[in-house]
């Protein structure tokens, strides 16, 4: 579903991604972790071309991003993305947030879009808030709306960029629950997250990045199983985040 092939990216002279390659198969859940500045968010943003890269290619559902002829907005409309800071549109009601891209990008009718949006809102447990505005919801609720908004576009794959990092601890689980449910339903997902409990529960593979390189790329069982078989950098990282 996603094939990342030798992706290299520079900011000026500074290389943020070096020869990153991996695959995400249909229905697979891949967790990307690593220290800050390791390039994990940059990598996931390359997948829907929010960040340009200078070398290599990424193919999403048989569409090449490096290909100049690719209609990127069209590609992005098929890739759902959830952001660290939710990025709901604050001037629109929850219903409008769910409908706007369905109507303006996919050309669905308003009635069709709002039916779809409300069904998804129901699914993330927020049907009662449809008429409100994002500023009136908690962080966890906003993030669940953001997931519903992305799902409303019927994406072939969902990208999550640290979806729980900006949340109060109490609200992390309500968002993870939605993500677990989604994973269990067979959605193809690529998640940048430090929630190792989530990774253990639903991930098929774990990718560990450091200094712009993919250091580890292995099945979950291997990643969390025999720590001594991991690279030194991954061991240090895991020792720090798994301690508590």
């Amino acid at each position: 579903m996603i094939s990342i092939q030798n992706v290299n990216k520079w900011y000026g002279d500074f290389q943020v991604l070096s020869d990153c390659s991996t695959e995400v198969k249909k229905g697979e859940v891949v967790v990307v972790c690593g220290p800050s500045g390791s390039g994990k968010s940059t990598l996931i943003k390359c997948v829907n071309a929010l960040e340009p890269f200078q070398k290599g290619d990424i193919v999403v559902d048989e569409t090449s991003i490096a290909d100049k002829k690719t209609d990127l907005p069209k590609l992005r409309s098929r890739v759902g993305m959830v952001f660290q800071h939710f990025e709901l549109f604050p001037h629109l009601s929850i219903t409008e947030n769910l409908c706007i891209a369905q109507v303006k990008v996919l050309g669905r009718s308003k009635a069709e879009a709002s039916k779809k949006g409300l069904a998804l809102l129901e699914r993330v447990g927020l049907a009662a808030h449809a008429h409100k505005h994002p500023g009136q919801l908690s962080g966890g609720q906003q993030q669940r709306v953001a997931i519903a908004r992305a799902l409303a576009m019927d994406p072939v794959v969902m990208l999550f960029d640290e979806p729980t990092s900006a949340l109060d601890p109490e609200m992390v689980n309500e968002v993870l629950d939605v993500m677990v449910q989604l994973a269990n339903e067979g959605m193809t997902m690529m998640c940048v997250t430090h929630e190792m409990g989530f990774a253990r529960k639903v991930a098929d593979r774990v990718i560990f990045m450091d200094a712009g390189k993919i250091v580890e790329d292995c099945p979950k069982e291997a990643f969390f199983g025999d720590l001594s078989a991991r690279s030194e950098r991954a061991q240090q990282f895991l020792a720090k985040i798994l301690q508590h």
Binding site: P73, M81, H85, F89, P90, K104, V105, L106, P134, G135
Partner: protein
């Protein structure tokens, strides 16, 4: 001070037809409003467009908008008005020049000049406010727009401008009031708006203080009314749970 105060002057005959001085003020107020509103339409539309251009990821478009702002806000308003009224008509193609100088009533040609002048001058200021409003928004909003498949014009229309314009309503209100006050420059090219009528009243009646007191009151009341109107607009478009309105 040896001065004969006469507050009844406004109801006295001007000596021209059956007009009383108050009617001059009313006519003048009419011109003031007509200049300001027409100028504001130009300023708001052009200013918003320029504000957008200053933020688009294209150096040439942004450069054009920047150049516009620097030219129009660094030349005094009065100089700009004289250029529009005395110089620009000479640069027009001949049929247009003749139309402007001979066919139009003097008040109409002065009106057109001052509306264009104030509109373009104020557009530079509106542009800067719209630009700052757009730049004040989190970068993630643009990313979210792109991620949903929007193209750049859609992101501006659906995501950035509705938020940015709400943010800048308070400074835009100042600009809106400014254009009413600045419309008084029209008196210098002979358009009989409020200030010109005031000066004329002062000269005809010799009741200078009364005339200027009334003009002051009219400008003040007009601007207070506009300010309250804008505050109502601000409240009306306020987003629930987002921006505190009117300091509340």
């Amino acid at each position: 001070m040896n001065y004969n105060w006469d507050w009844g002057i406004f109801f006295k005959s001007t000596g021209i037809g059956s007009e009383i001085y108050l009617e001059w003020f009313i006519t003048g107020l009419g011109w003031t409003i007509a200049i300001a509103l027409a100028g504001w339409v130009i300023a708001l539309l052009l200013g918003t467009l320029l504000g957008v251009l200053r933020t688009v990821p294209n150096r040439w478009l942004a450069g054009v908008a920047t150049a516009y702002v620097e030219i129009f806000r660094n030349v005094p308003l009065l100089v700009q008005l004289f250029l529009w009224y005395f110089l620009v008509p000479d640069l027009l193609p001949e049929p247009l020049e003749l139309w402007f100088k001979q066919d139009l009533a003097p008040a109409t040609s002065a009106y057109l000049s001052v509306v264009v002048c104030l509109g373009l001058f104020t557009a530079a200021r509106v542009c800067e406010q719209v630009r700052t409003g757009i730049q004040a928004l989190p970068k993630g909003q643009i990313a979210a727009g792109y991620a949903m498949g929007f193209r750049l014009p859609q992101i501006y229309r659906e995501v950035l401008l509705p938020q940015a314009l709400r943010i800048v309503i308070p400074p835009l209100t100042s600009e809106f009031l400014n254009i009413f006050k600045n419309s008084s420059v029209a008196s210098l090219i002979g358009l009989m708006e409020l200030l010109a009528q005031t000066k004329q009243t002062a000269e005809f009646s010799a009741n200078l203080f009364e005339a200027f007191t009334l003009a002051t009151l009219i400008y003040f009341t007009l601007n207070m009314t506009l300010m309250m109107l804008m505050r109502t607009v601000e409240k009306k478009v306020a987003v629930p749970g987002l921006i505190a309105v009117g300091g509340k």
